[in-house]
């Protein structure tokens, strides 16, 4: 008797679960590598997801799974979405690239979008943000604001995206002060508040008076505030952690992109592409320019406008590589392929890349 009641209850549950899937809405699904409240990378994507819900209302339903490790688990998480009726699946970590491609082959009717990779397919788009555009601006600001002429860069992992950022920052800085120097510390983690704080202390103790980071916690910002120097926020606006410290922040605003792509699915105009949006598309934005003199602010705003209009490209020649060889001649602009796989420094970086 008891088991029968249990059985009925289970059947009812099952019906309600599958019933939900039958609803006539587009299901947009997100696979997250971290926790949606990590205060950094994943949270930025989740804010984008919430913006989708706000903007598109009842035309769309969103779902997500968080803390999915790269590897076998990723493939399962992606396939779980694909087979449960998601119309479009966003996979938001570089390591999800190959699983996304693999699952996409099995589910040709589902659209996939993979962040920060390079592989595409019939139903797989790759999307990324030109973070380096923001880096160029903050490099210029750093060179104006620094007294010692040395900035500290807290870096996560030596991948092209991070190397682009380091180079763009230094090129920006050198456009203001050709002798500007940069010290780089790798913490081998995207998110370890303690280690990031330690790296910040090491850099400050070695004489840098301006900090920037390509890791996600606000620990370096807090530390800069404590030591009375300036710093730049990363991924989200970190002004709360350093009201008198943050000069600006490079803010990931994925929502604009997500809304655009989901609308394309709804219209039936979705097509595969390799999209690499920048400041002009709103996929990244600069937080308010604060704690700086008006002339520096005006310079930053002018640079931002020039990048948006296409008048200025951060990687425009002449640029010399770290080893002294010429990379770009005057008038040349780096092509996206080289940028995407960037694994060399420009002249002036005080660090060596593992080859």
């Amino acid at each position: 008797m008891k088991s029968r009641i249990m059985g009925l209850a289970l059947a009812a549950v099952f019906a309600s679960v599958s019933g939900a899937q039958a609803a006539d809405k587009l299901k947009a699904c997100f696979v997250y590598v971290g926790s949606k409240t990590d205060g950094g990378w994943t949270q930025a994507h989740d804010i984008g997801r919430l913006e989708v819900e706000q903007a598109l209302g009842d035309k769309v339903e969103t779902q997500y799974v968080e803390n999915i490790p790269e590897g076998a688990d990723a493939e399962r998480a992606i396939e779980r979405f694909a087979r449960s009726g998601c119309g479009i699946v966003f996979t938001t970590s570089f390591g999800f690239m190959d699983p996304t491609i693999k699952i996409a082959k099995k589910y040709p009717d589902v659209k996939f979008e993979h962040a920060t990779g390079y592989k595409t397919a019939e139903n797989v788009t790759s999307y990324n943000s030109r973070f380096y555009e923001g880096r160029y601006i903050i490099g210029q600001i750093a060179a104006k604001m620094s007294k010692t002429g040395v900035a500290g860069y807290i870096a996560s992992f030596p991948i092209p995206e991070v190397v682009q950022g380091i180079n763009a920052f230094l090129l920006g800085a050198q456009s203001v002060n050709p002798d500007f120097k940069l010290k780089v510390v790798w913490v081998n983690s995207w998110f370890d508040a303690g280690k990031e704080a330690d790296a910040a202390k090491a850099l400050i103790d070695q004489g840098v008076d301006i900090l920037t980071q390509h890791t996600d916690s606000t620990a370096p910002m807090q530390l800069a505030a404590e030591r009375g120097i300036h710093a730049f926020g990363q991924a989200s606006d970190m002004i709360a952690a350093g009201p008198n410290t943050q000069l600006t922040a490079i803010v990931d605003t994925w929502g604009a992109y997500y809304i655009k792509r989901i609308e394309a699915v709804l219209d039936g105009t979705w097509q595969t592409q390799s999209s690499w949006d920048g400041l002009k598309d709103g996929i990244l934005t600069m937080a308010a320019y604060t704690n700086m003199p008006d002339d520096v602010k005006a310079m930053a705003e002018a640079t931002e406008a020039k990048i948006k209009s296409g008048e200025l490209h951060p990687f425009a020649g002449p640029i010399t590589k770290q080893d002294g060889t010429e990379w770009l001649k005057a008038g040349e602009v780096a092509d996206d392929g080289t940028l995407l796989g960037m694994n060399f420094y420009v002249q002036g970086v005080d660090d060596k890349l593992p080859q």
Partner: protein, 306 residues
């Protein structure tokens, strides 16, 4: 000189949570119990300390909150392993899992909020001593507590009757029981002390080290603390050596990078682990000494026959 002071002060901050958590676990292990859940107790201490400090606006009450949270989680461990005689290794690991999950759930509303930093307390006169004054006497209360804990635990274990009793429970639970010592009661107290220390270590992370809450902010420090107990061969003063050695190599490698030596950062990051291992191998070559200090009943279940 200034750079040296700055580096050493950084090392102190990095070593303190390791030192506190390890000294707590040392007492636990001296009583014959192996609690592998340090990471879980530490992280719960971090989040509760942060939440308490935010709610009350007082980081000192936050510290108490962290201590209470660590102790509470260790009580769960004690009930399972001591009263219900479950396997200590597995229970400790499950405790870590539980602690990480619970802390994430508790902390969801606190992510991204700048915390209240525990202020340094300058000790009059002593803080004016050149060099040492800056390093030793301009620290926050948790740093002072860490040294007090080492001194207190050393005194307690080797100079008091209660300490002798605790060690005898860890060395030979059956003889201790025969002598009429309440083995379980002492172990409960030891485990609670260990939990409280882990909670305090967590509070240091979220109130002093990096005054904020982020998920998994312990980032493996609980495991390092566990390793340091073994490294110290269960002697409190050596825990200081271990914690500071580990801290120094960790900070040192960051400075080496900032100086631009061009060594792959992964190798530098591996240095603290390798250094700890090598020093331990050198220490443990004196086998007699290690054996004398290892609690003989470590990890063994105990049920009094009545």
């Amino acid at each position: 000189m200034d750079l040296a002071v700055a580096i050493i002060v950084t090392v102190v901050t990095a070593a303190t949570p390791l030192l506190i958590a390890a000294i707590g676990e040392l007492v636990v292990e001296r009583s014959g119990v192996l609690n592998l859940g340090v990471e879980g107790m530490m992280v719960i201490g971090a989040v509760v300390a942060f939440a308490t400090a935010q709610t009350t606006g007082d980081p000192y009450i936050g510290i108490l909150g962290g201590i209470a949270a660590g102790a509470f989680l260790s009580l769960l461990f004690a009930v399972l392993t001591l009263t219900l005689v479950t396997n200590q290794v597995a229970t400790g690991l499950a405790l870590t899992l539980l602690g990480l999950g619970m802390s994430g759930a508790i902390g969801e509303g606190y992510v991204g909020i700048p915390g209240i930093k525990l202020q340094a307390i300058e000790i009059p006169l002593l803080s004016d001593i050149p060099f040492f004054g800056d390093i030793l006497f301009k620290q926050d209360i948790i740093v002072y507590l860490s040294f007090a804990l080492v001194a207190g635990v050393t005194w307690f274990l080797f100079r008091t009757r209660a300490g002798l009793t605790l060690r005898s429970v860890g060395d030979s639970q059956n003889s201790a029981h025969t002598l009429g010592i309440g083995v379980i009661r002492i172990r409960y107290l030891a485990v609670l002390f260990g939990g409280a220390c882990a909670g305090l270590a967590g509070a240091q992370l979220s109130l002093a080290y990096t005054p904020q809450w982020v998920e998994n902010m312990t980032a493996g420090r609980g495991w390092i603390a566990l390793a340091l107990v073994v490294f110290a061969s269960w002697r409190p003063l050596r825990v200081i050596v271990g914690a500071y050695l580990f801290g120094a190599v960790t900070i040192g490698q960051l400075h080496a990078q900032a100086l631009g030596f061009g060594i792959p950062s992964q190798f530098l990051s591996a240095l603290p682990y390798l250094a700890t291992m090598i020093v331990l191998v050198i220490i443990s070559r004196d086998r007699r000494l290690t054996l004398v200090n290892t609690p003989a009943s470590l990890g063994q279940p105990f049920v009094p026959d009545r």
